[in-house]
């Protein structure tokens, strides 16, 4: 095992009664990396994290930290610290005592504890809070204290279980940046659990998307976003979600056509023919992201603007095309009105075709005819 690997999970399975919370998952996390486990609630991401921390015992499989098999090692000896979503700060201790806790239980000399606590407090901008009681802090300070408490014991691995979910949106954004800065500065290896796809994409070096106890796709945020492996990842990642249109693939006048109950979309014959041959007649879902379509006069699809939303610096047009509704990004100042007829053109390189029955990705990118 290369020394680059800090954590390695090997075929880990965990059951709670009849429920398989974690189903035979394996992955590696490298030194200094920020690795995210992303998925909807109940997908097993927190359980996975707790297995790494040693708070849960896997039913099958092995866990390694820095090459050592820690599967049976008690949590307190693993040097993996976990920041919880809530209740991370001891309410009966001051911020100083909270941060010092992990050092005090190791019976370190007072002067050394003091030095380390102040250092970490500095990094997390908690210096002015040191005398506050834990129970009196706001949520964002509490989470900072929790992170400080973990950092001060210099763990091999920092685990974070949705640490920012309960923090206000404004503060959350700032703390995300802070977290990333700290991670880069201290080169801490972090495993970050979240259900917030935006957070995972913003923070992580690599993301593992989980569903029903399994890892569906693992890769860099760019890969996950740009090349989702299946319908689940495609719709889970990205906001607003990918536009989806169901239909059947057919050949019409030598052109590949997506036939939906209400309209046809012409796909190119330039697609590798052997792939096309195998897809003909099968029911598929075609997807494209709102930013991969444009409203233009030479667009092939015509529809009516049903609703206009403003999202930060852009507008989203909800366009009804026959029976389907798709979302397309336009400029904030673009002069559209509800009820207006528009034509859109989808970037053919960014079309995703999924098998309807399994959700499996069939191919990405065709050139429109």
């Amino acid at each position: 095992m290369s020394s680059r690997v800090v954590v390695k999970l090997e075929n880990v399975t965990k059951r709670f009664g009849d429920v398989v919370a974690v189903n035979n998952i394996s992955f590696e996390v490298y030194r200094g990396e920020l690795f995210s486990l992303l998925g909807p609630s109940g997908c097993g991401k927190t359980t996975t994290l707790r297995i790494i921390a040693g708070l849960e015992q896997p039913d099958e499989g092995r866990v390694y930290i820095e090459g050592v098999d820690v599967t049976k090692m008690p949590a307190r000896e693993r040097k993996a610290c976990l920041v919880f979503q809530e209740y991370a700060v001891f309410p009966h201790m001051s911020v100083y005592e909270n941060i010092a806790f992990g050092l005090k239980v190791k019976k370190l000399p007072k002067a050394e504890i003091d030095k380390k606590v102040k250092e970490v407090a500095e990094i997390l901008e908690l210096s002015s809070y040191l005398n506050y009681k834990g129970g009196r802090l706001g949520l964002s300070e509490q989470q900072r204290v929790a992170i400080a408490r973990c950092l001060v014991v210099e763990p091999k691995l920092l685990l974070l279980d949705e640490p920012l979910t309960l923090v206000d949106a404004k503060v959350r954004e700032r703390m995300r940046r802070e977290l990333k800065r700290i991670q880069r500065e201290l080169e801490t290896t972090m495993i970050y659990v979240t259900h917030d796809q935006l957070e995972a994409l913003m923070l992580s070096d690599r993301v593992a998307v989980m569903r029903s106890g399994r890892i569906v796709q693992m890769g860099t945020p760019e890969e996950i976003y740009d090349n989702p492996k299946d319908l689940f990842v495609a719709t889970f990642v990205g906001s607003p979600t990918m536009n989806l249109v169901e239909g059947v693939l057919e050949l019409e006048e030598n052109k590949l056509v997506l036939k939906t109950p209400s309209y046809k979309y012409i796909l190119s014959k330039e697609v590798e023919s052997n792939i096309i041959q195998s897809l003909l007649g099968s029911e598929v879902v075609v997807g494209f992201r709102p930013e991969d379509a444009e409203v233009r006069n030479d667009g092939v699809l015509e529809g009516t603007v049903k609703l206009i939303e403003i999202v930060e610096d852009r507008k989203i047009l909800h366009i009804k095309i026959n029976e389907d509704e798709v979302r397309v990004f336009v400029d904030l100042l673009a002069p559209f009105t509800e009820g207006q007829k528009v034509k859109i053109r989808i970037n053919p390189l960014k079309l995703h075709i999924f098998e309807k029955k399994t959700g499996r990705k069939l191919l990405k990118g065709v050139v429109s005819g």
Partner: protein, 284 residues
């Protein structure tokens, strides 16, 4: 408007009745304790010739040289008082300690299981008088009759149920994340218990402790049956009124003394009591 006045009036009426109901007997007791022998049976609330004789009688019955007929019961109050202090304090510590560990186990490990924990309530489901005969027989064979150790064990055993159920509520409300966080930062299970759980559960320990202390302090039935010469305070208070005659004033003084101590303790731990009683509500 009229409605509000009526509601207010009604509320005040209820409060006044409640206050009269609870305060008048206490005032009567205070007044009686300062009255002279001749005044014991008069209905005035203020003593005409206030005296400390009843209190002197409590502490040194021979000092006044009267009531020779009652010599048998006239042990100085210091004896029963210190016995009750020792009994109540020790029983409280034992019950709260056992209760805490039981509650912790039940709360965190679901062991010995909900049904078994429910079993502990069974001891409270029969009137205590039912247990008197078997307890007397057991205690006789164990040489625990007229022995304060007997009462300590009995009180600890009968109140531990309360400690378990009060503390279980408190421990259930402590998020397990605090323990896990401490563990992950390298604390041993014992350190987790003493540095995290016990300090956080302290209001609960105080509430349970006070509750049990008061029960042990005021228990009369078993104390009456199981003691003879080494009587606790509750029995001593009852002894001033006998078949031979009644020392009403002395009894009032003894009763007052007996109620002041729990009051003082309650006052001293007031701060914890308030957090204790509101713990579950405020956190929400």
């Amino acid at each position: 408007m009229l409605r509000r006045i009526l509601t207010n009036a009604l509320m005040w009426l209820v409060l006044i009745i409640a206050v009269v109901w609870t305060v008048i007997p206490v005032m009567w007791m205070i007044s009686l304790s300062f009255k002279t022998y001749g005044e014991w049976r008069t209905p005035s609330l203020l003593p005409r010739n206030p005296t400390l004789d009843n209190y002197i009688m409590l502490f040194s019955p021979q000092a006044l040289g009267i009531f020779i007929a009652y010599t048998a019961i006239l042990e100085p109050i210091v004896g029963p008082l210190s016995r009750t202090l020792i009994i109540s304090a020790t029983a409280t510590v034992i019950a709260v300690m056992i209760g805490f560990f039981t509650a912790y186990g039940a709360s965190r490990y679901n062991s010995p299981g909900p049904f078994t924990l429910f079993f502990t309530l069974l001891t409270r489901m029969l009137p205590p008088a039912t247990f008197v005969t078997p307890i007397v027989i057991y205690f006789t064979t164990l040489y625990l009759i007229d022995n304060i150790i007997g009462l300590i064990l009995l009180y600890a055993a009968t109140t531990v149920t309360y400690a378990i159920w009060i503390l279980k509520g408190f421990i259930d409300a402590i998020p397990v994340e605090w323990e896990e966080a401490a563990l992950l930062e390298g604390a041993s299970p014992l350190q987790v218990l003493f540095k995290v759980i016990i300090p956080i559960a302290r209001p609960g320990l105080v509430v349970a402790g006070l509750f049990i202390f008061l029960m042990a302090w005021t228990e009369l039935l078993f104390a009456l049956v199981l003691t003879n010469l080494n009587v606790p305070l509750s029995v001593q208070v009852s002894k001033y009124v006998t078949a031979v005659g009644a020392l009403w004033g002395v009894q009032a003084a003894a009763a007052l003394l007996s109620s002041i101590i729990p009051l003082v303790i309650g006052y001293l731990i007031q701060r914890h009591l308030i957090t204790g009683f509101t713990f579950g509500l405020v956190r929400g």
